[in-house]
């Protein structure tokens, strides 16, 4: 059973064809690198999977059931979470407040319900431990490193029991040590049986953590093969168009 199947997905914005006839299959626990130059259609494809856009045509199946997302909430409900490039965290709140934002744990006291700080901190600490991240639940996000912020954003998706996580350029603006940390986080998600689509420009990241690489060019999928049968040189050629398809 495939986790996600895209069949002939296309998207037009007026006269502009952003995506044409894309077929893609994602298995549970698979880490797939999605590469392509700016404007190749990566983000359009991701936005369709995440429910930001409806496809103009084509079918999308999640766990063998056809799905139609009209809002991001719809995608989240079946188990698709997105870790945004700017991470979408509230800087002024603690890690645990961010992890539980919008789904706080509460305790009833008479007619009122109050936040259950202890339970949320404990659960967050457990998530960080599971991700082996050195992040404290009650530290404020503003004071955190890029890697720790990634851990907070990923812990959010873990809490939601996501089955597929879309990561948009998670290693774009962080230090070398933190890149290694984030790649470790991705491996831990894979070990937990969660599929990851990694959108990245960084060849070394894709080749060290992904099993498969998908290359987009001018709205079409031009390659989809195991990383072991490809090379950074080939992928570069595919991205730039020096090589037509593989």
């Amino acid at each position: 059973m495939s986790l996600l199947v895209l069949e002939d997905i296309g998207k037009e914005f007026g006269a502009i064809r952003a995506l044409s006839n894309v077929n893609l299959r994602i298995e549970p626990g698979e880490v797939v690198g999605l590469m392509g130059d700016n404007g190749a259609g990566k983000s359009t494809l991701v936005k369709i999977i995440a429910g930001n856009f409806r496809p103009s045509h084509g079918r999308m199946l999640f766990q063998d059931r056809e799905v139609h997302f009209s809002r991001p909430v719809d995608a989240r409900q079946v188990g698709i979470e997105v870790v945004y490039q700017d991470l979408a965290l509230a800087d002024n709140l603690t890690a645990s407040a961010n992890v539980f934002l919008g789904r706080e744990l509460k305790r009833k006291v008479g007619p009122f319900s109050f936040l259950d700080h202890a339970a949320m901190n404990q659960r967050t600490a457990a998530l960080f431990q599971e991700l082996k991240s050195e992040t404290r639940p009650d530290d404020v996000v503003r004071a955190m490193s890029g890697g720790q912020r990634q851990a907070v954003a990923i812990a959010r998706t873990r809490l939601a029991q996501a089955k597929l996580i879309l990561m948009d350029e998670p290693t774009a603006a962080i230090s070398v040590r933190q890149v290694a940390e984030v790649l470790d986080l991705i491996r831990r998600l894979r070990d937990a049986g969660i599929a990851v689509i990694l959108i990245s420009h960084r060849m070394p990241d894709v080749f060290s953590v992904c099993e498969r690489v998908v290359v987009m060019r001018r709205g079409s999928k031009v390659a989809d093969k195991p990383v072991s049968q490809s090379s950074p040189e080939e992928v570069t050629a595919l991205i730039t168009g020096a090589k037509e398809a593989a």
Binding site: A90, L101, L115, E134, R136
Partner: protein, 351 residues
């Protein structure tokens, strides 16, 4: 690279890591906040003033200070909520006046009708009318800002003028005095004393306590902070941004309406120019107390301390016999000073 030392692993429950330092307790939380050093400044000023002027600590003067600052303080609590979300409410001064006038006029109108037969009914109806007028103003602000997407500054600036104009139009410029069978009870609950303490102060402290509970221990409070920190992120997590925003503007107006009604008890009348220009003192009090106009920071302790600091300095200038016009200059200078000190402090802490 993720190696955690054995010692750290054993204490991982409490979240201590061997290689990640933790700031000393006095450098984080309340102790490192602008609210804390403004509180220290406030205490210092009060000590100096008690030496300079023997009248400062007299019970009459203290009661005066307490009452004056309570009106501003109560509204500052509401405006602080708005400021935490990254918004601003300039219409609170006008709202104080219109709520006060509505309350007084309704009390005049219902006296002599059948409601007189039921004890306190007239007063309850007029209080509800005054607070209801405030809620309507807050709803208008909130819906225009959250649903239509207008800028909070412009919307509430317009509302400042609309509401003040209404206050003059409805009264034709004449002050409205509360009348009726319940008027003595009205004065008691708005201007009385409990154990020698003016009720306005008690209302302020109770409301500050409730606000503190709401901000730090409820989901609504957390969403208020999240909106100020990153509104886009808050929306992505599924928080109903619109509802939280409408909520804070309604609460801000409601606090203004309540304080306006208390002022009627204090003045014995609701003039159309009641609380003119108060919005600036109120926003100043919030900012001095540590609320950040870019959003995401602030709290009830800061609101109370900020309002008290402004009133103590104003009172000090009066006792020193300094011209009232200079008070306005000084309040402005204190606002800039408080923000400046905070700026210098954060620059020093983040090299």
């Amino acid at each position: 690279m993720n190696d955690v030392s054995p010692a750290a692993r054993s204490t991982a429950e409490t979240g201590d890591f061997a290689n990640v330092g933790r700031t000393e307790w006095w450098r984080r939380g309340f102790f490192a906040s602008q609210t804390a050093y403004v509180a220290v400044a406030l205490i210092a000023i009060m000590v100096v003033m008690s030496f300079l002027s023997p009248a400062f600590l007299s019970s009459g003067n203290l009661a005066n200070v307490a009452k004056n600052f309570s009106f501003v303080g109560i509204v500052t609590l509401g405006v602080t909520l708005v400021i935490i979300t990254g918004g601003i409410d300039l219409s609170v001064g006008s709202t104080m006046a219109l709520a006060a006038i509505t309350c007084a006029i309704v009390m005049q109108k219902v006296s002599g009708t059948g409601l007189d037969a039921i004890p306190l009914a007239g007063m309850i109806v007029s209080l509800a009318a005054g607070l209801g007028a405030a809620v309507l103003i807050g709803l208008a602000n909130g819906l225009l800002i959250a649903r239509v997407g207008l800028s909070p500054f412009v919307t509430t600036l317009g509302m400042l003028s609309i509401v003040r104009g209404l206050a003059y139009a409805v009264t034709e410029g004449r002050g409205q005095a509360p009348t009726g069978p319940d008027v003595n009870t009205f004065y008691e609950i708005t201007d009385g004393n409990i154990a020698g303490v003016p009720v306005a102060v008690i209302y302020l402290l109770v409301l500050a306590g409730i606000l503190s509970l709401v901000l730090h221990h409820t989901a609504f409070g957390r969403h208020v902070f999240a909106l100020g920190g990153n509104e886009k992120a808050a929306a992505l997590t599924g928080i109903s941004v619109e509802r939280v925003k409408v909520g804070v503007y309604v609460l801000s107006s409601l606090s203004a309406g309540f304080a306006g009604i208390l002022m009627v008890g204090w003045l014995g009348s609701a003039p159309a120019n009641l609380a003119t220009g108060y919005e600036l003192t109120i926003i100043a009090a919030a900012v001095i107390g540590g609320a950040n106009l870019t959003g995401g920071m602030g709290g009830p302790a800061g609101a109370v301390i900020g309002a008290l600091l402004i009133e103590v300095i104003r009172n000090g200038l009066v006792l020193a016999g300094i011209n009232a016009y200079w008070q306005i200059v000084l309040v402005g200078a204190i606002i800039i000073l408080a923000v400046l000190v905070d700026r210098l402090r954060t620059m020093r802490m983040t090299p």
